[in-house]
Structure formats: structure tokens, C-alpha cells
């Protein structure tokens, strides 16, 4: 029942979208897209402070009745957004934070691939596998 959508963006263009379950994907897309407003707001509001503290985790972006949307932004302003079912109470801030860090590491690996064109959709199998394992772990 617990759900997780993981999306990465460059600017606001999705580089990678993955959600489980897939039935209600459209709703998540709308939700995540809307959450970018808050990401932008947070980045611009505390942008400088974030850079200084090397704090990339943006925390809970906005809660909805059923889901919690968390955000993370890399130094190169690549945004990560994660949607978690509100009923999944096992996931605290710390878990979310470490998941983001894992994602970030994996994303860095993708970027290190000389055949990857920054800005292209991510189609790395390794990255996919990592996300899958993370989602399975969460559910």
C-alpha cells in the first residue's frame, strides 16, 4: 500500500520519473509538478543558507491528504522529489534524507558516464535498479 514516486529534474524538466503503483501515475505527476513551486520557493528563500551549510535536503515540501512530498536539491540545482504515502509512518525525516543521499550518489554515477548527455532522460539500468530496490525497501 505504501507508495513512492521518485522524480529527478534538471531545471523543471523531468529526467527520471518512477512511481509505484502505476495506476494513478497522472495524479502523481500533477502533484509533483505542483510541488516544484515549493521547491523553487525554498531554494530561492534559503538558497544562500543552503549552500553555506551544504544542506541539500529541503525537507517536507508539502503534505496532502494522502501523500507527503519531500524535496532535495543538488549543488548543481538538480531537484529530487519523493512522494511517500502519508500512511507510511515508518519513514521519518532521517530515512528520507538518507534515501535522497543514496539517490544523489547514484545520480552522480549516471553523470559520470561519458555516454550520458546531461539533460537527457536517465535510462541507466544501474540507476533503475537502485530506485527499484529503494522502493521495494520502502513498501
Amino acid at each position: 500500500d505504501a507508495l513512492s514516486t521518485i522524480i529527478l529534474f534538471l531545471q523543471n524538466y523531468p529526467l527520471y520519473i518512477r512511481s509505484i503503483p502505476t495506476e494513478n501515475e497522472l495524479k502523481f505527476h500533477y502533484m509533483v509538478h505542483t510541488s516544484l513551486d515549493v521547491v523553487d520557493e525554498k531554494i530561492s528563500a534559503m538558497g544562500k543558507a543552503l549552500v553555506d551549510q551544504r544542506e541539500l535536503y529541503l525537507g517536507l515540501l508539502y503534505p496532502t491528504e494522502d501523500y507527503k512530498v519531500y524535496g532535495y536539491v543538488t549543488n548543481s540545482k538538480v531537484k529530487f522529489v519523493m512522494v511517500v504515502d502519508s500512511s507510511n509512518t515508518a519513514l521519518r525525516d532521517n530515512e528520507i534524507r538518507s534515501m535522497f543521499r543514496k539517490l544523489h550518489n547514484s545520480y552522480t554515477d549516471v553523470m559520470c558516464n561519458p555516454f550520458y548527455n546531461p539533460g537527457d532522460r536517465i535510462q541507466s539500468r544501474a540507476f533503475d535498479g537502485m530506485v527499484t530496490s529503494m522502493m521495494i525497501q520502502v513498501c
Partner: protein, 1259 residues
């Protein structure tokens, strides 16, 4: 002050609550002091040190002073804190020992006993001193005595529990001091009491909390206990601490719910799971919602009741703390978590009930915040409240849908029933909002009352939310609300209102590349456009949807059919067309030209094969596919073509088009990739690099303004170019996926044709690709007919038949039967015509078309070649043999060292040194049928041989040697070699010493011929010879023509031997061999071999009485430094011109090395006397100049350096003796005249024994 007199009210839960302090003893005294006390107590803050490491706080203390009563003291187990008396004070004014003993002491004892019974230790005895009162008394004790007594009697070890307050009502410094001390004491004691009693309370509370796992534990009971603590903190104005109590309760409850969800249910929690029956929302307008509190106290509260009450308390405290925005944020969290918790606890909730509750709550929170903030504050904190607004909007929307208020026909009876049920759950409006016009309750009731009212409220809310989102820059959120609104409008049959919102949202999704929202929004937009009758837009959206991979096949087919049905029905208005962008319909993949280089001549056929990928889900029959072509005349089209061919064309004539920007076009990915090229600019003179750089070829694509408005949905800019040049292909069925379409065209006007647009028409629907990029062009050229003549081999050889290739490029000229090439004949060059000569006709692409017999007719002056008929843009190729004749014998008698056939007068003769062949140019003038002008073609022939001759002597016998060198790559057969005297002297005979009549001369090799010269009479001073030899290529079997022999003419002069020179070296007498370092004798004998001859008659000849003599100079030179000539090495002798006259010279020479040494050279010169007449005119330098010239003239190469040296020595000698005198001249004897009979002899020199110390200096 009436406080002590009033009956104690039960518990007043208001902000006016203050900690209770009881007063015993003299009530009148207290009453008089009370005003000052209550005023002074809160004036100074006091630091409150807290237990459990909590931060100390400054507190302004206030108290509620009440008359002491035993009932006020809490009984054991009473958890009430608000009614707890924190301090008990006994007031006395007594200054009389007697009075004290009589009444006060007893009273005090009684008071103390009561306190002890309730184990209350927080007490204070205040003794008020009043000077005025003292004066009235006689038996006045010293001031301290009563106090001492009291302390002694009651304050065991706590003497500070008894304080003195002096003249409290006076205005003196002593009074002030006294007050200050008293107040400090009072505050300290109060705080001590707080610390102690609250600490005890907290301990008890904690103990109670620890029991929460026990079966009988009740959350509500615990709630009441902890809330008591919160109340006290609130009473002490410690709102932060109070809030913490509620937050702890909140967290505790949340944890229980979570645990319940995890299966770990607590009994008491099941009580909260009762079905929701009331959903009247949060009540935030009272500090304490007693109604709900009582429900909790009675353990009858539902989850919503508990949550509502808890939040109302938190809200109150947050507002006290001036944190209204936190209220908003927490409210949103609360509403979300309540919905979650009800779900988790599986509480049955009537449909819509929660929506009502949330809606009411949102508005209640917003109104509560608005009530305590001003407009500016609210406006600057929209970010905090907008969440509630949008939540309320969302909930109202779902209520509207639920209650049938959004449907076309309005609510049905079922909807109405549901509405009634929902309204019933709201209950009656609360009294506190009853008078508010815009209360949430009224709003909701009104909104649910009718379709119109709902619309009004929903639109109000939506617009407000959109406005708020927009104002704080949350554009995406605003668009999402807008989309909901659009859905609403669509339901309400107002597509014109919906369109704006859908377009706005779609633009946003497109810009950021969100595939699913794009698809979804497009679907909605399609519906909207259809209803609005925007045919063009609808078709465009439909085409986009039909090609959308995110839709199901059925959906895609539906939209595809929409297009097709429109295309088929619209026949009534011809000429009307709907232009749609091509990319959603089909995508151009690649394009292939035939011929591959995309260059055709006028009239040629060009085919263009394109591959388009149909994006449609079904096969589509397209009436016509057309490529619009732009034509431009290139001035220099042929050159441009050649350049273009090499530079820009892919080898196979295929142009690939980049895949159409992914279905998610974003501002980023839709940008084309940089097309960078290196650029080198070299100086034209020396080819050195001047400039280098990188050129971006598609700058115009990259640097254009990024206009968000020119999104793909914009159908403008699809201007159809109606050019005259269109490639068409009719009746094509495009299958889903790649399709190949072939266009054919016949080239007409020469120039460059650029493929601009691709257009597929489907009835009135035209799918247009407005720009074909990268640039695709084909060229049509027109070519003038041309004749090219070139040798087959690297170079043509003179003297033998050579093949020459004729290429006629017909260009735009058609070669008819009878057309011929007229070649003007050249004397020295023959055009040979073999019988079977064929001309081959090739097409423009070098494919053989046919061949024909070539007819060549020759007359004296003209050779006519009949060309076979050939169409335009073909090649005619044939070969002819030409023969450059060796030219006629040289007319001039000039002797040539290197024999060269003298070329025909007008021929240029180039001769290079080394092994290059001499060449001869023949210019042929050709008249072509297509031109009135003659074409002049120069053919260069190379002479394959180089011939040299030399005169050889043996004493008086003479030989002529001719060397023929073959410079060509071919082998030749030489035959019939002959040497003749051209003057045909009868007494001269040339006897060949050559054995073979035929000889092979291989490439790069030489053949020598020798003839002996014999004469009977006196030989002539010069001899003119002609060498001739027949030659033919060794490889060729049979030659069609007889070849002329190769000739070489030359002249030999002074060939008769006059002198014989003999040198001899003999060892010193007595020795057998010469030794190095020892002088040997050199004997030179010069013998005249003939009598006076014609050649002797020159200046040097002197005639004496009987005989003639001539002056000769001899010189001994050893160039190899083998010998040192000692003494005079040269001398002038007078030689009689008589046969056998001999002159002997003796010299001494010393060998410098051991071994067989060649003899030193002996040279002879003619010693010519000076002319006295000339000498006066010419200066010495001229003489020398002349002399050197004369010396140089006939000296053989091998002697050259020696002769120069010897000459130098002679000169120096001559010039030293000369000094103004005329100088004699020297002339070397021609090699034929002097014969050195000792040439080549060697002398054995053996080394001397001590040659290692040999040192010879020759001066």
C-alpha cells in the same frame, strides 16, 4: 477590594486566572495593603529556575489573594492545580506582647496546625509595623521583639518565613525599602512553591503516563491531568510551556493511532473509533471550548472532538505567542492527519462529512487568523495561508460533485438526500458565530443550498486561490487549480471559459516537458475545442493526441478518426484548407537522392526518396504529398556544383533528419545541437595559416529569442509556400511507422533547388512541415560541349606511334550523324588511323551506352573524324595514334655536343639538363561542330634518346665513339646504325668496329658505337659526321608505319695528332727503385709527329731559314700531390715543325708516398706571342681575361682544376715579370693534337726506411 469577601467561584477558566494565595490573620490589615500589593507584585520580574534542566525564565508574578479557608487546601489525590493555593500568608499588625499572647499566638497556632494537617509548607507570616499605631500604645515593646517571638514560636529554623513590613502605606524611603524586601521575599517564596508543587505534579503526571500500557489507563483522564499543567503554565503566562503540554498530548495520541494502525491497539482508543456523526468543524473563537472539554472529561469525545479541542487550545496559545502563521501550517497538517487517522482507525464516516469538516475548519482557521492580523500582514504571508485556501477549494469542489451541484441537470433526489444528511451533521450554528455574516457555517450551508450558490462560492474560492498562488509565484499550483476550474466550466457547458485555463496549464506543462499532464490536459483541451467549434485547433490537438504514445490505442484511433471524418466531409467549400503542423502526423526521417550526388543536367531525371514515419495509429490514405522547392539561379552553377559535391554531400546521397524533438519538448531539449566547424584561413601566397577558428553554422537557430508563446500548439507560421516548383506524389497510403515515398522530376532550368516544405494533404486538411532542416538541395546544371585530348601514357614519345585519347563531352549539344572533328594536319606529326577504331559512348554517369566504328578521313591538310551520334550529356571517347616525326636534318653546321633533332621552326624546344628528355610541342587546331572557333591543342612529345660523341686517339690512329642513351621507360631495338661524313671526303673512310647490326637498348641504358677514322691524304682540319640509327619499340610486334631513323649530327676538329709526349721517371742512379723522399729524375720528351700542316698555321708559327718552329709551353703538374716537383716545373720550348723533332726536358721530382704512383701530368700549351699593336690598347687584366678564356676553351674536364692551378702559377709569374710589358698568351692544345704516350704508366715507389721523420717542405 472585595476579593476576600466574595464567595469563591468554582474555577474560572479565563485568562484572569492567577495563582491562589490565601490570607489569614488580620483581614482589615490585608485589605488596606492589598491595592499596593497587587499593584507592586507583578512590577518586577523574577527569575524562575526550573527543574529538569529547563531554561530559567523571567516571570512577572501575579496572584489571586483569597481568604484562608480550610476547604481550599487540596485533599490527597486531588489533581487540580488551578485551585491549588501556592502560598499561605498570615497577616498581623500586633505590636503588643499581651495582645500577641492573648489572641494572635493562638490564631497563628491554629493556622499552622491546619497547614500541617494538609502538609503544606508554603507559608509566610507578615508583621506589619505601623508607627502611628505604636504611638497610641503605652506598653510598646521594641520593634523586633514581637517578630522575634513569632520567629521563636513558629519559624523553627526558617526565620525567613516571618517578614516585617514597615509603614506600608506611607511614602518614605524606609517604607519603599521595606516593601521591596517584602515583595522579593514574596516572589521568591511563590516561585519556590511553584517549583516544588509543579515538580511534584509533573512527577505524578509522569507516573500516570508510565502506566499507559496498563489496561485501565484512560487517555482522557491523562489528558485532563496534563491539561491542568498547561493551564497553570498559561496562568503563569508561560504559553510556550503550555503549548508543549498540548503538543505532547498531540504526539502521544498520534503515536497511539499509528500503533493502532500497526495492530497494537489500546482499548481506550476504540472509543474514538465511533462513527462520525457531527462534522461541524473547528471552533477557534473561544479560548476554551468547554463543550468539547466536557466531552473529553466524560470520555465521550470522538476523534474529531478531541482533535478539534486540542487544536483550538494550540491555536489559542500560538496566537498568544504571536505565531498566527504557525496556526495555518499546523491547521493544514491537522486536517490532513485527521483524515488519515480516521482512515487508519477505520472509522465510518458518511460520504462528504469529512469534506464538510475540512472545509469548515479551513475557513474557521483563516477567519481566526484574519481576526488577529491586519491586511498587510495577511498579504505578506499568503504563502502560509494559501494551502488552506486551496484545500478548502478542493473540498468544496468535491462536495459540489458529491451533491450533484456541478451536473448539468442539477441535483437529483439522491443528491438532495445526501445534502440534507450532510447539513444535518453540521448541527446548529454555534452562538459565537451566529452573528457573523460570512461564517464558515453559513457559507457552507449556502453553497450546498443551490447550484447557483455553489457556483458563486466555488468560483469565489477558486479565483481567490489562483490569485493568491499567482501572487506568490506558485504558478504551477495556480495552473492546477485553474485546471479544476476548467473542468468545472466544462461541466457547466462553458467551454469558452475553460479554454483559457487549459491552454495556460498546457503551456506550462509543455514548457517543462511533463508528458502525462500534457496528454491529459490536451485531451481536455480537445474536448473543449470541439465544443467551441475551433476546428483548426481541434484538429491540431487531435493529431497530437492521435500520435501520443501515452494514450491507449483506442483513444488514439478515436482522435485519428476525428481528423479523417473531418477530412472526408468537408467538400462543400473548395479552397478552404486547414494547415496543421506535420510533426504530429508524420516525421521526416531521411531523404535520398538518385543520382546520389543530387546533381542533374538539364533534362535529366532526379528522384527523391523520402522516408516518413507516420505517427498515426492506423493507415492513412493521403491524397497528395508534395515537396515545395525553392529555385534560385546560381551564376556559377557548375563550379558551385563541383564544390558542393565534394564538400556537402554525403557519399550515398542520403540526408538524415534529426529525430523530431522528443514528445516532451522543453525549452532545453528542443534547442538544436551546436553545429561547429573548424575554420582555417591561409594566406594565398605562402599557404601559411592566417586565422583559425570555430564557426557555429546554426547560430540563427540557437540565438533566436526564446518565445514561450510560439509553442507547438500555435498553428500560425504555417504559411504555405506556393512556389512553381513542387514535387508531387499522389495517392499515398501511409502505414503506421516508416513509409517510403518516391518523387520524380525532370530537371528544367539550371540552378539550385532547395527543398523547403513538406506537405501532406488530406482533403482540406494539410499537414505541413514548414521548414526542412538541415538544408536539402539539388542542383541542375547546363554544360557546354567540350573536347578533351590527352595522352594515354604519362608522356608522348617522339618517333614512335603514340595513343591519344579524345573525349567529347556533349553537354547540351546533341551530336548528330555527320558531325565531325576537323584536325589541321601538322607536318611533323602524323595521325595514324587504324582500321578498327571504335568510339565508345558513355552516359553522364559513366555507364557505357554503345560503341560505334570511328571513321577517320585524311587529306593533305585536314584529318576529319566523324563522330557517332550521341545524345546530350553523354561522353564520346576514342583513341587515335599519332606519330611525331623526327625532324629534318639540322641546317646549321654548328656542332652540338648533345645531339637533338632540330625541331620544326615553330616548335618550342625545351631541353633540360640531366636525364630529362628533350621535348617537342605540336599544336593541332581542331574544329568542332558545336563551335565556330577552333580548339588548339598542344601535344608534347619527348625524344627518347640522348646522344653524345667523343674522339679517341691511339698515337696517330683516330676513332669516333657515339653514345646513345635511352632516357625513356621503353626498350628499343636499334638497327642499321651508320656514321657518314657529310662532306663526303673521298680520302676519308669511317670503318665501323661495331659487330652487330641490331641492338637492343634497354630503358635508362646506353649503347656505344665506334668507328675508326682513316685517311689517305692529309686529313682535313674538321670532320662533319651524321649518325643515324633505325629504332623501333622492342615490345611491338608489327608497326603499321615505317619509322624514320634517329639522326645525330656532329663535327670533330683538329683531330690529327701533332705531338707525342712521353714522360719517364727513373730512380736515382745506383738504386733499383724510387724511394719516398729521395729525388728521382723525370725525363719528358716531346716529339713532333708530322711536318707542317694546315692547322699549324697560326701566330705561334715562326719561320726561320730552313724550317718552321712553334713555341710550346710544357708544364708538369701533379694534381694528386704524389709528387713534389723540384725546381722549374714549366718552361717554354721552341719546337721545330718537323716530323720526329724531339725536345727533351729533365726535371727532378720527389715521390711523397710509397706504392705504384701515376706519373705527374705533362701538359702542352701553344705559346702565342703578344701582339704589340694590341698590347698598348689592352691592359693587363684584359690579357689575363683573354688568356683564361683561351686556356679554358679546350681543356678536358679532368684536367680542369689542374689547368686552372697551373694557369694561376703562370699568371702570377707572368704578371710579376710583366709590369707594363705585354703578355704572351697560352692556348691548350686540342686533345686530338697531343698524345700522351705515357698516360696510365705507374712507377713503383718504395718507402724510405726513416720515412716517419720525413718532412719535406716545398717552397
Amino acid at each position: 477590594m472585595d476579593a476576600p469577601e466574595e464567595p469563591l467561584p468554582p474555577v474560572i477558566y479565563t485568562m484572569e486566572n492567577k495563582p491562589i494565595v490565601t490570607c489569614a490573620g488580620d483581614q482589615n490589615l490585608f485589605t488596606s495593603i492589598y491595592p499596593t500589593l497587587s499593584q507592586q507584585l507583578p512590577r518586577e520580574p523574577m527569575e524562575w529556575r526550573r527543574s529538569y534542566g529547563r531554561a530559567p525564565k523571567m516571570i512577572h508574578l501575579e496572584s489571586n489573594f483569597v481568604q484562608f479557608k480550610e476547604e481550599l487546601l487540596p485533599k490527597e489525590g486531588n489533581k487540580a492545580l488551578l485551585t491549588f493555593p501556592f502560598l499561605h500568608i498570615y497577616w498581623t499588625e500586633c505590636c503588643d506582647t499581651e495582645v500577641y499572647k492573648a489572641t494572635v499566638k493562638d490564631d497563628l497556632t491554629k493556622w499552622q496546625n491546619v497547614l500541617k494537617a494538609y502538609s503544606s509548607v508554603d507559608w509566610l507570616i507578615v508583621v506589619v509595623e505601623n508607627d502611628a499605631k505604636k504611638k497610641n500604645k503605652t506598653n510598646i515593646l521594641p520593634r523586633a521583639s514581637i517578630v522575634d517571638k513569632i520567629r521563636n514560636d513558629f519559624c523553627n529554623k526558617q526565620s525567613d518565613r516571618c517578614v516585617v513590613l514597615s509603614d506600608p502605606l506611607k511614602d518614605s524611603s524606609r517604607t519603599q525599602e521595606s516593601w521591596n524586601a517584602f515583595l522579593t521575599k514574596l516572589r521568591t517564596l511563590l516561585l519556590m512553591s511553584f517549583t516544588k508543587n509543579l515538580g511534584k505534579f509533573e512527577d505524578d503526571m509522569r507516573t500516570l503516563r508510565e502506566k499507559r500500557t496498563e489496561p485501565g489507563w484512560s487517555f482522557c483522564e491523562y489528558f485532563m491531568v496534563q491539561e491542568e499543567l498547561a493551564f497553570v503554565f498559561e496562568m503563569l503566562q508561560q504559553f510556550e510551556d503550555a503549548l508543549v503540554q498540548y503538543d505532547e498530548l498531540d504526539a502521544l495520541f498520534s503515536q497511539y493511532v499509528v500503533n493502532f494502525g500497526a495492530g497494537d491497539g489500546a482499548n481506550w482508543l476504540t472509543f474514538f473509533c465511533q462513527p462520525v456523526k457531527s462534522w461541524n468543524g473547528l471552533i477557534l473563537r473561544k479560548p476554551i471550548d468547554m463543550e468539547k472539554r466536557e466531552l473529553i472529561q466524560r470520555q465521550e469525545a470522538t476523534l474529531l472532538d478531541l482533535r478539534s479541542y486540542l487544536f483550538s487550545r494550540q491555536c489559542t496559545l500560538l496566537l498568544f505567542l504571536q505565531r498566527p502563521w504557525e496556526v495555518a501550517q499546523r491547521a493544514l497538517e491537522l486536517l490532513h492527519s485527521c483524515v488519515q487517522e480516521l482512515k487508519l482507525l477505520e472509522v465510518s464516516v458518511p460520504p462528504g462529512a469529512l469534506d464538510c469538516w475540512v472545509f469548515l475548519s479551513c475557513l474557521e482557521v483563516l477567519q481566526r487568523i484574519e481576526g488577529c492580523c491586519d491586511r498587510a500582514q495577511i498579504d505578506s504571508n499568503i504563502a502560509h495561508t494559501v494551502g488552506l485556501w486551496s484545500y478548502a477549494t478542493e473540498k468544496l469542489k468535491s462536495l459540489g460533485y458529491l451533491c450533484g451541484l456541478v451536473s448539468e441537470k442539477g441535483p437529483n433526489s439522491e443528491d438532495l438526500n445526501r445534502t440534507v444528511d450532510l447539513l444535518a451533521g453540521l448541527g446548529a450554528e454555534r452562538p459565537e458565530t451566529a452573528n457573523t455574516a460570512q461564517s464558515p457555517y453559513k457559507k457552507l450551508k449556502e453553497a450546498l443550498s443551490s447550484v447557483e450558490a455553489f457556483e458563486k462560492h466555488y468560483l469565489d474560492l477558486s479565483h481567490a486561490t489562483i490569485e493568491m498562488f499567482t501572487s506568490i509565484g506558485r504558478i504551477r499550483s495556480a495552473k492546477l487549480v485553474g485546471k479544476d476550474l476548467a473542468e468545472f466550466y466544462m461541466r457547466k457547458k462553458s467551454p469558452q471559459k475553460a479554454e483559457m485555463y487549459l491552454q495556460g496549464a498546457l503551456k506550462n506543462y509543455l514548457a517543462e516537458g511533463w508528458a502525462l499532464p500534457i496528454t491529459h490536459t490536451r485531451k481536455q483541451l480537445a474536448e473543449c475545442q470541439k465544443r467551441l467549434g475551433q476546428i483548426e485547433n481541434y484538429l491540431q490537438t487531435s493529431s497530437l493526441l492521435a500520435s501520443d504514445q501515452h494514450l491507449t490505442t483506442d483513444e488514439r484511433e478515436y482522435f485519428c478518426r476525428e481528423i479523417l471524418s473531418f477530412a472526408s466531409q468537408q467538400t462543400d467549400s473548395p479552397g478552404h484548407r486547414v494547415a496543421l503542423p506535420m510533426h504530429s502526423f508524420a516525421q521526416l526521417r531521411d531523404l535520398r537522392f538518385t543520382p546520389a550526388n543530387a546533381v542533374v543536367h538539364v533534362g535529366g531525371v532526379l528522384s527523391v526518396e523520402i522516408t516518413v514515419c507516420s505517427q498515426m495509429p492506423v493507415p492513412i490514405h493521403v491524397e497528395q504529398i508534395a515537396i515545395h522547392v525553392h529555385f534560385s539561379i546560381e551564376k556559377n552553377s557548375y563550379r558551385k556544383t563541383a564544390e558542393w559535391l565534394t564538400k556537402h554531400k554525403t557519399a550515398n546521397g542520403v540526408v538524415n533528419f534529426p529525430a523530431e524533438a522528443s514528445p516532451f519538448p522543453t525549452s532545453q531539449s528542443s534547442l538544436p545541437a551546436l553545429e561547429l566547424y573548424e575554420m582555417f584561413e591561409r594566406s594565398p601566397s605562402d599557404n601559411s595559416l592566417n586565422t583559425t577558428g570555430i564557426i557555429c553554422k546554426n547560430v540563427h537557430m540557437l540565438l533566436r529569442r526564446q518565445e514561450s508563446s510560439t509553442s507547438l500548439e500555435a498553428s500560425s507560421g504555417l504559411a504555405l509556400e506556393d512556389g512553381a516548383h513542387v514535387l508531387r506524389c499522389a495517392g499515398v497510403t501511409l502505414q503506421p511507422g516508416p513509409n517510403t515515398i518516391v518523387f520524380r522530376t525532370q530537371a528544367r532550368e539550371p540552378g539550385t533547388y532547395t527543398l523547403r516544405q513538406l506537405c501532406a494533404s488530406l482533403g482540406p486538411v494539410w499537414f505541413v512541415l514548414p521548414h526542412i532542416y538541415p538544408l536539402v538541395q539539388y542542383d541542375v546544371y547546363s554544360q557546354e560541349p567540350q573536347l578533351l585530348v590527352e595522352p594515354l601514357a604519362d608522356s608522348l614519345l617522339a618517333g614512335i606511334p603514340q595513343k591519344v585519347k579524345f573525349t567529347v563531352t556533349t553537354g547540351h549539344y546533341t551530336v548528330k550523324n555527320g558531325d565531325s572533328l576537323q584536325l589541321s594536319n601538322v607536318d611533323a606529326m602524323l595521325i595514324l588511323c587504324p582500321e578498327e577504331n571504335r568510339a565508345v559512348i558513355y552516359s553522364n554517369t559513366r555507364e557505357k551506352v554503345s560503341d560505334a566504328l570511328l571513321r577517320v578521313q585524311s587529306s593533305d591538310k585536314v584529318t576529319s573524324i566523324s563522330l557517332p551520334a550521341a545524345p546530350t550529356y553523354h561522353l564520346i571517347e576514342f583513341e587515335l595514334e599519332v606519330l611525331s616525326l623526327p625532324s629534318a636534318p639540322a641546317a646549321g653546321g654548328e656542332s652540338t655536343l648533345l645531339g637533338v633533332t632540330e625541331p620544326h621552326g615553330k616548335h618550342k624546344d625545351t631541353q633540360k639538363t640531366g636525364h630529362c628528355m628533350a621535348t617537342t610541342d605540336h599544336k593541332v587546331s581542331i574544329d568542332c561542330p558545336w563551335s565556330i572557333y577552333s580548339t588548339v591543342i598542344a601535344l608534347t612529345f619527348s625524344v627518347p634518346f640522348r646522344t653524345t660523341h667523343s674522339l679517341l686517339s691511339s698515337g696517330t690512329r683516330k676513332y669516333v665513339q657515339v653514345c646513345v642513351q635511352n632516357l625513356s621507360e621503353l626498350d628499343f631495338q636499334l638497327s642499321d646504325s651508320r656514321l657518314v661524313d657529310t662532306h663526303d671526303s673521298t680520302d676519308l673512310r669511317l670503318i665501323p668496329l661495331n659487330t652487330e647490326s641490331e641492338q637492343c637498348i634497354h630503358s635508362r641504358q646506353a649503347v656505344f658505337f665506334v668507328w675508326e677514322l682513316k685517311w689517305t691524304q692529309e686529313p682535313p682540319p674538321s670532320l662533319h659526321c651524321r649518325f643515324s640509327t633505325g629504332f623501333s619499340p622492342a615490345s611491338e610486334e608489327q608497326l603499321s608505319v615505317s619509322l624514320k631513323p634517329y639522326t645525330y649530327e656532329f663535327q670533330v676538329e683538329n683531330f690529327f695528332t701533332l705531338y707525342n709526349v712521353r714522360a719517364e721517371i727513373s730512380p736515382p742512379p745506383g738504386t733499383e727503385h724510387c724511394r719516398t723522399g729521395s729525388l728521382c729524375s723525370l725525363d719528358v720528351s716531346i716529339t713532333r709527329l708530322s711536318d707542317l700542316l694546315e692547322v699549324d698555321k697560326d701566330e705561334a708559327l715562326m719561320e726561320s731559314d730552313e724550317y718552321f718552329s712553334t713555341k710550346l709551353m710544357y708544364e708538369v703538374v701533379d694534381n694528386s700531390s704524389n709528387w713534389a716537383v723540384c725546381g722549374k716545373s714549366s718552361g717554354v720550348i721552341s719546337m721545330p715543325v718537323t716530323a720526329q723533332a724531339t725536345h727533351r726536358v729533365h726535371m727532378e721530382v720527389m715521390p711523397l708516398f710509397a706504392g705504384y704512383l701515376p706519373l705527374p701530368d705533362v701538359r702542352l700549351f701553344k705559346y702565342l706571342p703578344h701582339h704589340s699593336a694590341q698590347s698598348s690598347q689592352l691592359d693587363a687584366d684584359s690579357w689575363i681575361e683573354n688568356d683564361s678564356l683561351s686556356v679554358d676553351k679546350h681543356v678536358d674536364d679532368q684536367l680542369d682544376s689542374g689547368s686552372v692551378k697551373s694557369r694561376g702559377s703562370v699568371h702570377s709569374a707572368a704578371s710579376s715579370e710583366h709590369k707594363g710589358l705585354p703578355m704572351p698568351r697560352l692556348r691548350a692544345l686540342p686533345p686530338g693534337q697531343a698524345f700522351n704516350s705515357s698516360a696510365g704508366t705507374q712507377v713503383l715507389v718504395i718507402p724510405s726506411k726513416d720515412d716517419h721523420v720525413l718532412e719535406v717542405s716545398v717552397t
